[in-house]
């Protein structure tokens, strides 16, 4: 099975991701217990406060995980790229089941038992610790079980903001349109969820016997988990202190460029923390500004239009100059371009192009009545994306464009789910899936020259960054980039190896 071979080849990495995944879930669930248990006790004691607490937990639960990460990202203290933001989000998700289980567990205790405790002269605190919580414990454990299983699933999304975990494989697989890589992350995640479910179900059954001594054992076990969680937390923090933090967006070319920059820095003797596969331009830019990232590779056209919301000059040199001016205002430096222009390009199936003689985007006009366009979510929203394209070429598609995951879009075109897409000019899939590029005769798409963007503070702190990146200036052609993409996407080679080989081939 290809998945087994993948795991064999990536054993050390898999172990690391599994560990990160476990830590994310353990730490967030532990924090949720520490917060949720007292909150549940308060909610059970004071119905009015209880309604507020439960409503709050409910709302947190209904926010889709990616959206929640998006909200948290720009916040001070809790936001930012990496494990911290993911932990906050996972904790919020874990709260509801734990609070609710605590409230139900306490509310369903036989009144006679509470009355007996009170009449014996137990203080409310003694009653809670000796009677109510021990009796409610199996129910509370059931809540923790639900929270943990949700956590294992949700933690896969954490990879989108650089928190690591098994989601890395899922996002990487999506970027590479490679189901083996997706499965390599999804299978262990599912197994982990089932395992956690079974283990906690056993704990719950064991406690249902209602044994106070056993409850003490359970509390000791929980304390151990807390201790582990704290250890894990400190490990995550230590990780964040690497010398230079390199980011990338979540598609193959970006991951390759991130790796390329990272290796170039390592060749200059720097320690690099890779935060590759981050969930898009927005996440990378926020990371750079907040200092979570030291650098990532951006494209001039994307910077000017998507980040700074300006019209992009059509001349590449002017676009680069404008990019530099705009970044300089935020204490960010755009260095020398790597050499290739990854402009957007409009693609159709090769067979359609040949049969209908399609050569330019203008040729699409008669087909808009029956053809369905499909675009990445970012392209649909962006000023320089879909809205501008249809007005520049006077296209009026009858059917609503379908928003799709960027990485699935080429396959969707080849499979006939959509008929026209926007893709990267450097994509390896253009050749392999027999897609045809339509010429941009009206120069709608601005230049997208790849440039490393670095925090000015990082350049001052580590002058070697500038030196390392100067070796890459102008050295990566569009043809090189397509070959690199093909090596990873089609030949399924490791990004690390492909990049090392490429850097080795660059004569100094």
């Amino acid at each position: 099975m290809p998945v087994l071979r993948f795991w064999q080849a990536h054993a050390a990495e898999l172990l690391g991701l599994l560990q990160q995944h476990l830590l994310l879930v353990c730490v967030s669930t532990t924090i949720a217990v520490v917060i949720g248990l007292p909150a549940g006790v308060i909610a059970a004691r004071r119905p009015r406060a209880g309604r507020v607490i439960l409503a709050g937990a409910n709302v947190a639960q209904t926010i889709p995980s990616l959206a929640l990460l998006g909200f948290l990202l720009p916040l001070p203290f809790i936001g930012g790229i990496g494990a911290r933001t993911a932990l906050v989000a996972l904790t919020l998700y874990a709260l509801l089941p734990i609070v609710r289980a605590t409230v139900t567990g306490l509310a369903t205790i036989d009144r006679a038992i509470i009355e007996a405790g009170t009449a014996m002269g137990m203080t409310p605190r003694q009653l809670l610790m000796m009677v109510e919580l021990p009796i409610a414990l199996p129910q509370i454990v059931a809540g923790i079980r639900v929270a943990t299983v949700i956590g294992v699933g949700t933690a896969t999304v954490a990879a989108a903001i650089g928190a690591g975990g098994l989601g890395e494989y899922i996002f990487r697989g999506l970027a590479m349109v490679d189901s083996t890589t997706i499965l390599a992350g999804a299978i262990p995640a599912a197994a982990l969820a089932l395992l956690a479910d079974a283990a906690l179900a056993a704990a719950e059954r064991w406690l249902r016997g209602g044994r106070v001594r056993k409850a003490r054992v359970a509390v000791a076990a929980a304390a151990t988990v807390v201790a582990l969680g704290i250890l894990a937390g400190s490990a995550v923090v230590r990780d964040a202190r690497a010398t230079v933090v390199v980011g990338s967006k979540n598609f193959t070319e970006q991951v390759i460029l991130g790796e390329m920059v990272a290796q170039a820095l390592e060749r200059e003797g720097m320690t690099v923390d890779r935060r590759l596969n981050l969930g898009g331009t927005f996440v990378c830019d926020k990371g750079l500004r907040s200092g979570d990232l030291d650098l990532y590779v951006e494209y001039t056209g994307t910077a000017v239009s998507a980040i700074f919301h300006e019209e992009v000059p059509r001349d590449p040199q002017r676009a680069l100059n404008r990019t530099r001016e705009l970044y300089a205002r935020s204490q960010l430096s755009a260095l020398a371009p790597l050499g290739f222009n990854n402009t957007f390009t409009i693609l159709v199936r090769g067979r359609d192009a040949r049969e209908r003689g399609l050569r330019t985007i203008e040729d699409l006009a008669p087909l808009t009545a029956s053809w369905t366009p499909g675009f990445g979510h970012e392209f649909l929203q962006r000023q320089d994306g879909y809205p501008g394209l249809v007005s520049a070429y006077g296209l009026t598609f009858k059917s609503q464009p379908r928003g799709m995951e960027l990485s699935l879009i080429y396959r969707a075109l080849a499979d006939g789910q959509v008929d026209v897409i926007a893709g990267d000019a450097t994509s390896a899939l253009i050749a392999s899936l027999d897609l045809a590029v339509l010429e941009d005769t009206r120069q709608y798409f601005p230049p997208y020259d790849a440039v490393p963007v670095v925090r000015a503070a990082s350049l001052r702190r580590e002058p070697a960054i500038a030196r390392a990146l100067s070796h890459l200036a102008g050295r990566v052609s569009a043809k090189d980039m397509r070959a690199l993409n093909a090596a990873v996407d089609l030949e399924k080679r490791h990004v690390r190896d492909v990049v090392a080989q490429f850097l080795g081939s660059l004569a100094p």
């Binding site: 036989d110 014996m120 002269g121 203080t123 009796i135 209602g210 106070v212 409850a215």
Partner: protein
């Protein structure tokens, strides 16, 4: 420890009073059985003694001190309470249930254990057989006995009993009553017991009081109550099944 009710009134706004002008003195070491229908205010009387409730007016005086002046935790720990539905802690063993109060009082583990074993022996459930069982593994009668042992754990001077033996079969009930009287005589505890069963009141009480709609109609020795001509008292006595002639 004596208990006095002085013109005790318990009422909630807009409803007929639960207790109205109750005067009753329970002497040290005495068993007073209070009989009344459901809703006559019987349980309220017990809750006034250990300050689970305070009177609207009048005073409840325990050992010469108004319950308002007692620290409720201190008062409750000197007052054993035996419930109709027992209220044993389901997550603790029989022995742990009996040891709860000694533990809260800070006794040494040896003393807790010795006390639990002594009391379980006293109520006929030897600790080496029953101590490690959970309440769910006991019969109703056994649970009542554990409830009694638990209530006696830190030598209460007053024992409050709410329909204590109501849910038992007649033979077990007679057995436990006998044991209870033996224990009470040995320990010399003051007991206030409420029940709707005149038979139980007659067999346990040194004095029997009859409560009707929050008012005490009579409080006297069982023989005197049995001879009463008051129709409200007669209603209770006449409800006892006659013993069939041979």
């Amino acid at each position: 420890m004596s208990v006095q009710f002085q013109q005790v009134r318990c009422a909630y706004a807009g409803r007929p009073p639960i207790l109205d002008g109750l005067d009753l003195t329970v002497e040290e070491g005495e068993i007073v059985a209070i009989v009344g229908r459901s809703g006559a205010g019987k349980t309220t009387i017990l809750k006034l003694v250990n300050r689970l409730l305070l009177p609207s007016s009048g005073a409840v005086v325990v050992q010469g001190r108004d319950t308002r002046e007692w620290d409720s935790i201190q008062l409750r720990r000197r007052t054993g309470y035996v419930f109709q539905d027992v209220g044993l802690f389901p997550h603790m063993t029989v022995e742990d249930n009996v040891r709860v109060l000694p533990r809260l009082e800070g006794w040494t583990v040896e003393r807790q254990r010795a006390r639990a074993h002594e009391l379980l022996q006293l109520v006929g459930l030897p600790a080496d057989v029953y101590g490690a069982r959970f309440p769910s593994e006991l019969s109703g009668g056994q649970r009542q006995r554990v409830g009694l042992a638990r209530a006696l754990a830190v030598d209460p001077q007053v024992l409050l009993m709410d329909e204590p033996f109501g849910a038992l079969d007649p033979i077990t009930r007679a057995e436990i009553r006998g044991e209870f009287l033996r224990i009470q005589a040995r320990l010399g505890i003051t007991v206030i017991l409420v029940t709707h069963d005149m038979g139980e009141a007659f067999s346990l009480g040194d004095r029997v009081a009859v409560l009707d709609a929050g008012v005490m109609i009579v409080c006297a020795a069982p023989a005197a109550v049995a001879a009463s001509r008051d129709p409200r008292v007669r209603a209770f006595i006449d409800s006892l099944p006659p013993i069939p002639a041979a």
